[in-house]
């Protein structure tokens, strides 16, 4: 992982002054939040499903060794191969080996955060293999030489005209006078260009949203269909997944699927939820001849049994960053790590070490919105506080504490961050027990306490809560 996290303040300052980025970030704030809320409200069982989803992952993590064994058996029985990778380096070597055995020149890729984590593209290129990202957002940022700024919307930091400029720069085989002013035209052009690449690919690499122990299946959840073309048209399908993607059964998967798409994009189901089991069968007319699963640890086993174990329940829906006022203000790149937003603030120090990522948990207003929307009920603010305590134990305390205070001063001096920190999101804090003591020692304590008398119901926007409060008080 290329970590630039120690530069958060510089990154954030730049982000706040970047007009194009600020315009693009508005789309996060407006789009995702309303969609999730509508989807959650439309399903009366949503909260109970969140409880079940949490319990399923807790059970799986507590028996992870055994489920890994069962899963492996099923993959092998269906004709697939399982490779265990302790580190990013090991995973890269395994994937390169599979590609080399197939003499691969081109590799198509479905969207996968794990392959970002192991920096697979650079590595493949250095070894003479061309990786082609096929998810529209990933394709755009690959053209720009950037990393994703959001775990489900990688190009959310960009505006349409920037994408148009990139397409004109790269797709030089197309007539320069073509009209690319509409979103549709941009999408069509990417569709056309990528169509040929699927057929040329020797290997198709995807991530996995779930691995199912009962059947040995890997599951991808997408809207575009690029992941399906990647894994169907490539002669060899390689799944790269971290250990905690495991769930016991198909029915367990159904519970979590019901909260995943709703939390991510507000859909009842994403367009394509695909279960893949082994290579194509003898009489199948299409599908890959080989099926490999690379199971990545890269620091996860060290999180088990610690106060960070809960983070391994994460299903990468993105809701925590969609609802994060700091993310809204500075975007994903400012975090300088593969995983941005609240989930990244917890995961980055866990995977990369406290020395590199340990201060990221300070990039938070501790408003608690992330936890209130997390479908897996991950106590993100609590874990961010745990990281601060770890800094304590590591004798980083004096400077870290000063740093923390400086951080708050930094926030306070920047209007957009300050508004984020003291206004709309503050009321939600009161639903979180135990946060007030720590918070009251911070420079914005006045802002916190002032609003703490007015708890907002979970899942409502501030404006709704406010309107309701007004109505209640008016009626008294």
């Amino acid at each position: 992982m290329q970590i630039t996290t120690p530069n958060f303040k510089e990154n954030a300052t730049r982000a706040l002054g970047d007009a194009a980025l600020q315009k693009a970030l508005k789309n996060v704030e407006i789009g995702f939040i309303a969609k999730r809320l509508a989807a959650a409200d439309a399903l009366p069982e949503f909260e109970a499903l969140r409880d079940n989803a949490r319990d399923i992952k807790n059970h799986t993590l507590a028996h992870l060794d055994l489920y890994l064994e069962e899963y492996e058996k099923k993959v092998i029985a269906s004709g697939g191969h399982v490779h265990f990778a302790e580190t990013a380096e090991d995973a890269r070597a395994i994937i390169l080996d599979i590609c080399r055995k197939r003499n691969a020149k081109t590799v198509t890729k479905g969207k996968s955060m794990i392959t970002e984590e192991i920096e697979l593209n650079d590595f493949l290129e250095k070894n003479g293999i061309t990786p082609v990202e096929t998810d529209l957002g990933e394709y755009i940022i690959q053209l720009r030489g950037e990393t994703p700024s959001h775990i489900i919307a990688p190009a959310v930091h960009l505006n349409k005209d920037q994408v148009e400029a990139d397409f004109r720069r790269v797709h030089t085989h197309l007539p320069p006078e073509r009209d690319l002013s509409q979103h549709e035209a941009l999408l069509n052009e990417a569709r056309q260009v990528l169509r040929q690449r699927y057929f040329e690919a020797d290997v198709g690499i995807t991530g996995a949203n779930f691995l199912i122990a009962e059947t040995g299946s890997s599951v991808i959840v997408t809207n575009e269909g690029n992941g399906d073309l990647t894994q169907t048209l490539g002669k060899c399908h390689v799944v790269v997944a971290s250990l905690e993607k495991l769930v016991p059964t198909l029915n367990d998967c159904a519970q979590i699927l019901r909260v995943l798409a709703r939390s991510a994009t507000g859909q009842d189901m994403s367009v394509y939820t695909t279960f893949s089991t082994g290579p194509k069968r003898a009489d199948d007319p299409d599908g890959p001849e080989e099926y490999h699963v690379v199971l990545l640890d890269n620091g996860r086993t060290a999180m088990l049994g610690t106060e960070f174990q809960d983070m391994l329940r994460c299903i990468r829906c993105g809701a925590c960053m969609n609802h994060c006022p700091v993310y809204h203000a500075v975007g994903g790149h400012a975090y300088g790590a593969v995983y941005p937003g609240p989930m990244g603030a917890v995961l980055t120090p866990s995977l990369s070490g406290i020395e590199v990522g340990g201060h990221l948990p300070n990039a938070s207003t501790f408003c608690g919105r992330c936890e209130s929307v997390c479908p897996m009920r991950i106590p993100l603010p609590k874990m961010m506080r745990h990281w601060r305590e770890r800094e304590f134990e590591k004798h980083l305390t004096p400077s870290a504490a000063r740093y923390g205070l400086k951080f708050w001063a930094f926030f306070a001096k920047r209007p957009k961050l300050y508004r984020a920190a003291v206004s709309v999101v503050m009321p939600l804090l009161s639903v979180l027990g135990g946060t007030s003591r720590r918070i009251s020692s911070l420079p914005l304590a006045g802002g916190w306490t002032k609003h703490r008398e007015m708890p907002a119901p979970e899942g409502k926007t501030f404006l709704q809560a406010w309107a309701e409060k007004q109505a209640r008080e008016g009626g008294r």
Binding site: E45, L66, P248, L250, Q267, V271
Partner: protein, 223 residues
């Protein structure tokens, strides 16, 4: 020690357990064997005729179009009608699925039927979905010798036939159906759960249909 042993060993050390613990193993074995269903929302527990309504409602919400015909012999006519009304050439790609064969496409002599996997040049493809999920408007398509996966993704227009009797209420029902066909713990190579046509919101969060998969999904309910 292999990477596998190292990882499993680390999991056990971190959890403070041993691999030989009979109680833990029994918990895992019984969970996998029983594969109990969790909470099914009320929306996923509807009686038969209501399911079709709810299925159609959600499929349309996600951009599919729906037609219903009395029996399978009416499918070819409906396919022709769809192609004509969308100004598309009278040609389809189709697998050798038994239900689709029963439709007897010879009854539409103007319609060209090309069989086998899609090569990416087809404008329209026809598939048979083994089931559907009413609670989310989702089709369930399984790969097999007569059911190429490429037809679900490469043609611009995807026409899918599903029998009314196969429209289930919930995801769990769809899984139970797969288990009944293939055996406990067994799956075909690919099972696609499809909810509406392909789309992307990757540019400015504006949803545009037809990203890499079909631009249009037309569902024909049979019976």
């Amino acid at each position: 020690m292999s990477a596998r042993d190292n990882i499993l060993g680390r999991v056990r050390r971190s959890l403070g357990v041993s691999g030989g613990d009979a109680q833990r193993r029994a918990a895992v074995v019984s969970r996998l064997a029983e594969a109990k269903s969790g909470l099914i929302p009320a929306r996923g527990q509807l009686p038969r005729e209501e399911r079709i309504e709810v299925f159609a409602k959600y499929a349309e919400k996600y951009g599919a179009t729906i037609a219903r015909v009395g029996s399978i012999e009416h499918l070819p006519q409906e396919v022709s009608r769809y192609l004509k009304s969308n100004n598309l050439p009278a040609s389809i790609r189709m697998g050798e699925d038994p239900l689709l064969k029963d439709a007897r496409f010879e009854s539409e002599p103007m319609l060209t039927v090309i069989s086998g996997a899609s090569d990416g040049t087809d404008v329209a493809g026809v598939s048979h979905a083994r089931g559907a999920v009413a609670e989310s408007g989702t089709l369930v398509l399984a790969s097999g010798p007569n059911n190429p996966v490429t037809i679900n993704f490469l043609p611009e227009h995807h026409i899918v036939a599903v029998r009314a009797a196969d429209v289930g209420a919930s995801l769990e029902e769809a899984f139970a159906g797969i288990t009944a066909t293939y055996g406990k713990g067994e799956m075909p190579r690919t099972v696609n759960f499809v909810t509406g046509p392909s789309r992307s919101g990757d540019i400015e969060q504006k949803i545009i249909m037809g990203a890499h998969g079909p631009r249009a999904l037309h569902i024909v309910i049979i019976g």
